[in-house]
Every structure is written in C-alpha cells, then in structure tokens.
C-alpha cells in the first residue's frame, strides 16, 4: 500500500470479508463448534494479509470502478506525490510502504497519517508489553503448595508447565504472558485447578502467538472500527474455544463449577495487552462465553467435514472473490465512472489493443482511446473522456470522403492489420485497414500506420500517421501486390531467392444479438472493444522469384517455404511449422501456392504477426538447398 487509495481498497475489501464472516458466524452460532467459530477468523487474517486484486479478482464486483472514479475525481484537482490520478490503484503489499517524498496534497498527508498511526500503535503495544513484562519480572515466587498444585493439574491432563511461574499482587486473575518465554502469572490468592487448566491449555495451543498476530493486524488497520470489532470477537472466540477445551476435559459438577468461576470474573478489569491471554476478558465477553458454555456439547467428529466445507467456501469467496472484470464502457459514456472502467480495461494483448484503437476510431470515442493511448497522449485522452458527450464530426472524416455509412454508434466498417512486424523493441508496427461492412459500397478503404507497444502488462497504440483515404476500385487486400507485403531474401547455391509474404490479421467481430418477441435475430457488428482479444483469423499471400546471382537470369523452380523465428533450424521449421507452403515462382497476384498446411482461423492460431524469417528449401542441379530468408524490403 503506497497511497491512501490502495489502503482504502485493502481496508474496504477486508471490511466486506469481515461482514460476510460476521453474518455467517451469526447464522451458525449454535450450529458449528467453537473451533469453527474461532478458526474462520484465519480467513479474515489472510484477507488482511493478501493484497486485494490478486489474480485479477475482486470481492466486491464493481467496487474498484467506484473507487477509481472517486480517486480520479478527488486527485484531479490535487498534485499528489504518492498518487497518479490516471493510474490504476494497485495493492502491492498489505503493509504501508512509505516513499521518502514530501507530501503535496491532503491525500498524501492522510496516507502519511495512516502510516504514522500504524507505527505509533505498534510502538504503543510494544511498550505496553514491555511494561507488563517489567511488572511480571518483579513478581514473587509462588509457594511450594501452589507449584505442587500446578504440577498436579499439568500431570493430570498431560500438559506442559510454563518456563516460569510468578505471583503478582496486583493481578486480578491468572494469565499467561510472553509468547517466546511464557510466564504464568498468578494472583496473590488461591487459584482453582480449572483456572490453571484454562491457562495451560492456552499455552498448549499457542494462543499467545495468535494474540500477537491479531495485535499486528489491529495496527495495520487501526482506523477501521469493523476490523477492531472483529479482532475483539476473535479474542473472545479464542477464550470460548479454550473454555470448550476445558469443558471437554471436565465431567459433571466440575463443568457447572467452571461456569461459576467464569461468572465470578465478570467484574474484573480487562486490560488488553499484546502477547498475553487472560481468562477474565471483560464482563460482556464473559456473558457471551457463559452462553456458549450453556450450549456446550461434544460436536460429533463427522461435523468436521461440513464445518471444513463451509469454511472452504467462505475462504474461497473472501480470498479469491469473483471475477473482478469491470464492464467496458459504452462508446458515449463520459465522466469519472466511464474513465475508471476504461482504466480497468486497458488492453492486455496486441490484438486487443488494435481492436480497442480501431473501435475508438470507428466510434470516435475518446473513452475508448483513453484505454489504449500511449503514455504521452493518455492525460489528454482521459481529460477528453470526462467532457460531456458530443456527436462525432462526420464531415471532416476520411470515412465520409469515401462514402462509408455512419450508423450510430460507428462508421460501418471493420478493421484488419497488415504487415504487423516486430520493431525490435518488444513492440510492432503495422498498417490498419478499415474496410466497409458486407453490403456497403464505398470508394475505397481508410488506412493508418500504427505502432503497438507494450507498457507494463498492457499494450498501447501509437499513431504513426494520419487516417488516410485510399481510393480503390476493388477492396481485395490479400493476396494483392497493391497491399502491404514484405520481401524476404536468401542467397544459396548461386541463386537469389526473393519471397513476398503478406499477412492480414483480424479479430472475430462479434455480432449484436437482439431478442425479439419470438425469436433471436442477429443485428450488426458489435463495436464494443475487446481489450483482451486475440487474432482469430488470418489471410496470407505469398509469391516467389528466383534468379542467378551472377547473371541475373530468372529461373522457374519449385520452392518450399515455412515461417520461422529469427534463430532456429530452417529444416526443422520446414518439418514442424504450422504454416508451410509449396509454391512455384510467380507474383502475389498469381496463384503460386501448390500445397499449404496452414491453420487459418481459430483460437489456437500461431501466426499473429509477420514472421521474423522464412525457411526456404529448393532443389537445384540435383541437390536440395535449405536456407533462411530474412526480411529486406517492406512494401509499400
């Protein structure tokens, strides 16, 4: 947690988990055992310790959208040093991580106040513990009779003795202090065997450590009263469980006597100190424990299965949550909530980034562009996304020039990308094509050069040129020598082999489905971006030329070509590649492919960009030559 919004997200999630556990515990109060009642607090402890949003899931569907919107609204007018108003709030750790920068805003100050509160409370608990240890260190030795009584109780129930036993005059009842070196502190009067048994059982089950853990968790969320209430209940449940363990070891009248002892402690002061357990934990808590004693029964062993199953479902809900995916905003949504949805839907794939950008262009939607804009443009895009909705300016658009149809919400076109080449820095460059939907006549297509670049776990699209109208008689793009392609060149056996490879990729365009009165009918294309989409369809074109390196004479040969990476064995690629072609020499516009083993659509498509190289094989002068062709020229 490195800013106040991360803390808010973490503490709100923990609060929701706490409320769910409180309701469930209330429902099962008289049905499931004290072990279960105490054990489920471990779920809350884990919830507090696990960063919210882990695995991309959330406990409160839509909660993150509201929080992001509130953050953007608050932070836009501030210049916080710790919070980026346009970034996504991420909880990286369950503890406050303070950066050494001066606070620039009220939210920075609030976070520093929170962090200081954590430190101060930890210090306070630590000092309280040290003060108690100092008082305990001054305690006197118990009488031999008391030590004998203690040995007898421990022996009777097979329990270990604490390292040290002291008598403290001011102690109102017995308690154990110190998880590392436990000391049993006794009051300066006779103590019942059952009280000793209670404290020895705390020692046996390591309840002191649980108490320390709860103290730390209290400190982490010191300003959350719901969590304080829960930890109070958890400590009471710990005592109630210890009562249950005592009662399981007692018989008949002893059980009743135990309740009477507990009742006698109702007026004792309860000073909560970390690293201690005390049977007397306040009048109200004792009342609840007496209620539990009245309900006492030995829970059958078989119930452990049901208890475990209920706890497992609760744990999965609180720790894993449900799908945290926020809905993609509508094209005409504006304002903070829309922007928050856009922020939470930034593209995670290259195809998703291109689809988001293309829909931003077609719908003229700044909120879609805000999802995919590169860092330099993002602030401006996000500011535009918060402005009131305005109808698109149709007449200045290249789509208008070419006669595309505008039908709200978008220009009736679909996109594809050609020549999507790796740029050597982890990103890609390519040409976006916007072609009319089936049944629409236009004078051409709209094109734009773009770069797709990674930014952390997301992808952005940078415009490398303007949207340009490309007037064409026919709209056939692939295979076509008029559309972009890359020439791969190899030289072997005195021959120069040039292979023109063309690849057009697109995602599956969802159709809008509408339910009529009696039947489901299919409408037009859904222009909502799919920021996590993958390329689902590809169209390839290939042509080849072979000439002598010495004379320049062209030759007619049969070639075999396969896609491969920059490094690797071309022979292996020719055997294993999903995309392998046997072709004769000829241009892209000729039908040169004789045999193809390509996979051209579906989720498992492996051709998602232009290949780094081509493996080429040909037979010449009685010998078979295999070589690697590297990209030399990009056309146009």
């Amino acid at each position: 947690m490195d800013n106040i919004w991360a803390f808010l997200e973490q503490t709100l999630t923990a609060t929701v988990a706490a409320v769910l556990l409180l309701v469930t515990k209330r429902l099962f109060l008289d049905k499931l055992s004290p072990r279960w009642q105490y054990g489920v607090w471990a779920i809350l402890a884990l919830r507090v310790l696990l960063p919210t949003g882990l695995l991309g899931r959330a406990l409160i569907p839509g909660g993150q959208v509201v929080l992001e919107a509130a953050k953007a609204w608050v932070e836009r007018g501030l210049s916080s040093a710790l919070t980026d108003p346009y970034g996504i709030t991420q909880v990286t750790a369950p503890i406050p991580l303070v950066r050494l920068v001066g606070p620039n805003s009220v939210t920075d100050l609030l976070f520093l106040l929170y962090a200081a509160g954590v430190a101060a409370l930890l210090l306070w608990f630590g000092l309280a513990y040290l003060a108690l240890r100092r008082r305990v260190a001054r305690g006197g030795m118990p009488s031999p009779a008391v030590l004998d009584q203690l040995r007898r109780v421990a022996g009777q129930y097979g329990l270990n003795l604490p390292r040290r036993v002291v008598v403290l005059t001011e102690a109102e009842s017995a308690f154990v202090c110190g998880p590392l070196s436990p000391v049993l502190v006794l009051p300066d009067r006779a103590v019942d065997d059952k009280v000793l048994l209670h404290e020895l059982l705390h020692l046996k089950y390591g309840d002191l450590w649980a108490g320390v853990g709860m103290c730390v968790l209290r400190c982490l969320h010191w300003c959350n009263p719901v969590l304080w209430y829960c930890w109070n209940l958890a400590q009471n449940d710990c005592e109630a469980l210890c009562d249950q363990r005592v009662l399981e070891r007692l018989e008949g009248e002893d059980r009743r006597a135990y309740g009477v002892i507990l009742l006698s402690m109702a007026d004792h002061r309860y000073a909560r100190a970390p690293g201690t357990t005390s049977m007397a934990n306040g009048g109200r808590n004792i009342k609840a424990r007496i209620g539990a004693i009245a309900r006492f029964k030995r829970y059958p062993k078989g119930m452990a299965l049901a208890s475990g199953c209920v706890a497992l479902v609760l744990a999965a809900a609180c720790l894993v949550g449900t799908s945290g995916a926020a809905a993609v905003p509508a094209y005409d949504e504006r304002g903070e909530l829309a922007l928050a949805k856009a922020q939470l839907n930034r593209p995670t794939t290259v195809a998703g980034a291109l689809d988001t950008y293309a829909q931003a262009v077609l719908c003229d939607s700044p909120v879609y562009y805000a999802m995919v804009a590169p860092e330099g443009d993002r602030q401006q895009a996000q500011q535009q996304a918060t402005q009131p909705f305005e109808e698109a300016d149709l007449y200045s658009s290249p789509f208008w020039e070419l006669g595309f149809t505008w039908s709200r919400p978008a220009w009736q076109a679909e996109w594809s990308v050609m020549n999507l080449m790796a740029d050597g820095t982890g990103g890609y460059t390519g040409t976006l094509f916007f072609i009319p939907l089936n049944g629409h006549d236009t004078m051409g297509v709209v094109v734009q050069q773009v770069a797709v670049r990674p930014e952390g776990m997301f992808w952005t699209v940078e415009r490398l040129g303007k949207l340009e109208p490309w007037v064409r008689d026919d709209l056939w793009l692939c295979p076509s020598s008029k559309a972009p392609y890359t020439t791969y060149v190899a030289e072997a056996a005195g021959l120069r082999v040039e292979v023109d490879f063309q690849c057009r990729l697109w995602v599956e365009h969802q159709k809008v489905q509408d339910e009529g009165m009696f039947q489901l009918y299919s409408g037009g294309v859904d222009f909502t971006p799919n920021p996590h989409g993958i390329f689902a369809e590809v169209c390839t074109g290939i042509g080849a030329r072979v000439c002598s390196t010495e004379t320049g004479d062209t030759l007619d040969l049969t070639l075999k070509a396969a896609l491969m990476g920059e490094t690797g064995d071309p022979a292996q690629a020719l055997e294993e590649s999903q995309y392998c072609f046997t072709l004769s020499t000829g241009g892209l516009d000729d039908d040169v492919v004789q045999v193809s083993t390509g996979t051209y659509s579906g989720d498992g498509m492996s051709l998602t960009a232009m290949p780094a190289a081509l493996a080429v094989q040909f037979a010449y002068e009685g010998q078979t030559h295999t070589c690697v062709a590297l990209p030399e020229e990009v056309s146009p």
Binding site: L27, M303, C309
Partner: protein, 178 residues
C-alpha cells in the same frame, strides 16, 4: 402411518423435487422450493424424535425463499438471479451445504436408533457435501482443458449416482417405520 414414515416420505420426495427438473419453456414443474416445503413439513413431523432437527427450520425457510426467488426469476426472465449477488450467493451456498449435511446426519441417527445401518446414507451425505463444495469453489475447470472437462463430467455422473442412491435409501428407510 407413523410420523417417521410420513416424514421420511416427504424428505425423499423433497430430494426428488430438488434434484430433478422438468421444464416446460421457462416453467420448472418440479420446483426446488416445493422440495423445501416438503422438508419443512418433514422437520415438523420428525422434530419429536430428533431433538436437533427443528434447529434447521430457519435455514429451510431461507433456502426455500431463495428457491422461490430463483424459480420466479427463471420463469419471468429466463435467467437465474442469485448468482448476480455474489456475497448473498455465498451465504446461501454455505447454508445449503450445512442444511443437507445436518438433515442427513439426523436421518442417520434416526436409522441407527432403529438398528438400521446408516452407512449408505453417511456415504451419500459425505460425497454430497464434498461435491457441493467442489462445485462452489471458483476453480478454473474450463482452463484445464480435457482433464478439467473430465473432472466436471465425473463429478456430475457421481452426483447423479449419489442422488439416486440417496433417494432410494430414504424410501427404503421409511419401511422400517410402521
């Protein structure tokens, strides 16, 4: 006919309503809420013999109400509604797991009180609660491909077998009571 006989008959038929569906369009003519209505009636009949059973009444009402809401939602909109409210759905799932486990535990006690072995009912109870838990967990079955699909099919087959055995066992058990 004794109360026990009538109570067990109602519980057996309750499970028939709960686990089998007959849909006419969006109308389920074997609604789950009818199963809970039968359970509620059976709890009243068996409450005298089984001390802990009446503790299940509030849960029975709650689960029945949830099923009425689901049944109406499916009838009107064609879609379930409870799963949209994640936290409420989790609560109902927890109650559901406990309710059936405890109900069957009580019936096992009833059977064993008459000298009848509760082994088969106990097995049905345990498998039922484990399957119910597995199905409620957010496990990415579809991401696990063929093994995930196989696991889901296996669970469904097991669940159908267990349901049939459970209903058969309950109809058999009632014969012990005059």
């Amino acid at each position: 006919m004794s109360n026990a006989y009538r109570g067990l008959t109602k519980i057996a038929w309750g499970y028939v309503f709960l686990h089998f569906n007959l849909n006419l369009g969006t109308l389920n003519v074997l609604p789950n809420w009818a199963g809970y209505l039968l359970f509620f009636s059976a709890i009243q009949l068996l409450g005298e013999d089984l001390r802990d059973l009446p503790l299940l009444k509030p849960f029975c009402i709650l689960l029945g109400t949830a099923e009425v809401i689901e049944w109406l939602a499916v009838l009107v909109t064609g879609e379930t509604v409870l799963e949209r409210f994640f936290l409420l759905h989790i609560l109902v799932t927890c109650i559901n797991l406990y309710f059936h486990f405890q109900l069957l535990t009580d019936l096992i006690l009833l059977a064993e009180g008459q000298g009848v072995s509760g082994m088969h009912l106990r097995m049905c109870r345990n498998v039922n609660v484990v399957l119910g838990t597995l199905m409620a967990l957010p496990l990415p079955w579809s991401d696990w491909g063929v093994p995930g699909l196989a696991a889901v099919v296996l669970m469904l087959v097991l669940w159908i077998i267990i349901t049939v055995i459970l209903i058969w066992q309950l109809f058999q058990l009632r014969k012990v009571f005059p």
